[in-house]
């Protein structure tokens, strides 16, 4: 597993091969390509992940989902784990109108 330096200020999105399934306690993510399963352990991290594609940066997605500044490192660690297992990938195209 290669180390991932997670950049909160880049644009991210959920990989299209990932199926996201909400659960009462958070969500399950299954990647059909890698066959790996990730488990999101609360509703907030689910909200962040779901909204990644709608925001110009992961930081913006976090803040919009109610993550406090002090909590950002924990959420960045979570997103780093998802990135290293290819559940989320960087967006390379610019949002229209940004």
């Amino acid at each position: 597993m290669t180390p991932v330096t997670f950049d909160l200020d880049r644009a991210w999105r959920v990989d299209p091969r990932v199926s996201m399934r909400p659960e009462p306690f958070g969500a399950l993510l299954y990647h059909f390509g890698t066959r790996r399963l990730s488990f999101l352990k609360n509703q907030t991290v689910l909200a962040v992940v779901r909204s990644l594609a709608d925001h110009p940066s992961a930081r913006a997605a976090c803040l919009a989902s109610g993550v406090a500044e002090a909590e950002l490192p924990a959420y960045a660690r979570a997103l780093a784990a998802l990135a290293s297992s290819k559940m989320i990938t960087e967006r390379i195209s610019h949002d229209s109108g940004s």
């Binding site: 330096t5 066959r35 790996r36 490192p73 784990a81 998802l82």
Partner: protein, 35 residues
């Protein structure tokens, strides 16, 4: 600028013991009851 550097491996090995991680990875093969 709170840029976090971490390794995916570190996140995984902590997964089963740390209650603070918000994401855990699970082996899709790792649940008993499927042959």
């Amino acid at each position: 600028m709170p840029e976090v550097s971490t390794t995916g491996h570190e996140a995984e090995t902590e997964a089963l013991t740390s209650d603070e991680l918000l994401v855990e990875e699970v082996s899709i093969d790792g649940m008993c009851g499927v042959y």
